[in-house]
Amino acid sequence: MDPILVKILYALLTLFIVLNYGLLIQGIVPKIGARVGRRHGIPFYQAYLDIIKNYSKRTRVTHGIMFYIGPVFRLTGGIGLLMFMPVIFGSNMFQNFSFTGDLLLVLYFQFFGVLGMALGAAESGHPHSAIGVSRGLSQTTAFEFPLTLGVLSLAVQYQTLNISDIVAAQQGGFMHWSIMTNPLAAAAMLIAFLGAMGRAPFDVVLAPQEIPIGPPTEYQSGLLGVLQLNRAIFPIAKLILFMNLLFGGATSWPELFLKTFLIYMWSVFVGVVFPRFRVDHSVRWFLGVPLLIGILAIIVTKFF
């Protein structure tokens, strides 16, 4: 078969696995939370039901072309992010299209969906959407700074921006993982990770009680379904990125599931403990200690 076609098929397989994993994790994490609170909690397959339900809605409205393609941008952003990353280290099957660009492509491509979604939400003309976007963008700029410093520090450490090379350099036991070899960078990145996941305490962007769920407030039916698909894929793609950069990547799917799940739980734990930050607080917070850690990480890796 045509090698490109094979690649596409393997990429689709990756996408399928990740989508299901993402949907399941959306059910399982609340389930765990519920069990901790001695509740039954939602069924673990609830996310599937919600998506099917939303696609089965019979009416849908649109505010205009940008509103309509906003979710398309969003999902493209999510899938693309996954596609540009090597998922399983050492496997030819699950390298996706990582041959087409390095870490920078991945970092910048994150914004593709964010920007498209923001534009779509804004076309609805709903002030809450605009407020949500304003908050989201403000917060994003803030946590990206320590994140970048951390990533740069890793790049200095490994002298490459190639994700596969970074993963390769971490093989050979957990003592080789970046989080052990470059703890400062890892700290900066993991703090930024909290912001990137958009969970408490950094979830004022959605703020259901105040600005009804922020940007997607006007989205419904199939359009919301597309967004939900992205909600399953995009966080997992980010988790995979962090896993690759900090935790030695994964050589098999079970390892990937385990590692990403544990990384995910880090944001969950923080989220259940801390209350919500206001945007100006979180901006200042990210530009405080995490930023200093990031700078320190760069200085340490560069000079020592």
Partner: protein, 214 residues
């Protein structure tokens, strides 16, 4: 009546030409609802109904004293989440509208607007006696007596007030109705739109919105 923002007005364009603005026509979609057919593939429709019944998103809108009865459902004691019930802050994403108690005329207007902004198929649970026959407010000058004259109701829960358990039972009933394919309130509304509208307009004297709020 003080709705000057909805009256026609003349504004000057940047070039200084006068433009007439008719807010109701210019700013609101004037389309009327249509009956949305069920899927022609029976099994698909059944599958969809199953999913719909297992994923009930409730609009977070409390109309009367019954609103307080909804809250316990989110607590560990009742834990409505296990039945696929969640609360959504926006009507665009909600399936179920729980009318929780008496409805004054003023609130009814907001209820109609929110109901119409929900996407079909959509369901209404009427909670408490007030929504059935006016309850203790039956002779009030300002509260409605029968909700089903204004929007289609799928499930009634009688009582003043019904306990959260009753509400849960009502949800179970609704699920059954949906699974049986009888949860067609939205289509009922579209079919009898003129009757509903006439009833609504009879009591809402200052009708300041389009006939259907998309």
């Amino acid at each position: 009546m003080g709705k000057e923002e909805l009256e026609k007005r003349i504004v000057l364009s940047p070039d200084g030409e006068p433009i007439e603005i008719d807010p109701i026509n210019d700013y609101f979609c004037q389309d009327l609802p249509e009956v949305e057919k069920k899927s022609s593939i029976a099994i698909l429709e059944k599958f969809q109904n199953w999913a719909r019944s297992r994923s009930l998103w409730v609009l977070g809108f409390g109309t009367g004293c019954g609103a307080i009865e909804m809250r316990p459902l989110m607590t560990p004691k009742f834990d409505a989440y296990r039945y696929g019930i969640q609360w959504r802050p926006t009507p665009r994403q909600s399936d179920v509208f729980v009318i929780s108690g008496y409805l004054s005329v003023k609130t009814l207007k907001r209820v109609i607007r929110s109901y119409e902004q929900m996407q079909g198929p959509k369901y209404v649970i009427a909670l408490g006696s007030c929504t059935i026959n006016g309850g203790m407010y039956w002779d009030s000058y300002n509260t409605i007596n029968r909700l089903d004259h204004y929007i289609p109701v799928d499930v009634y829960i009688a009582g003043c007030m019904p306990r959260p358990e009753a509400l849960l039972a009502g949800f179970e009933q609704l699920k059954k109705i949906i699974r049986e394919g009888r949860g067609e309130g939205a289509n009922l509304y579209a079919e009898n739109f003129e009757w509903y509208k006439a009833n609504q307009k009879k009591i809402i004297k200052d009708w300041d919105m389009p006939d259907y709020n998309w």
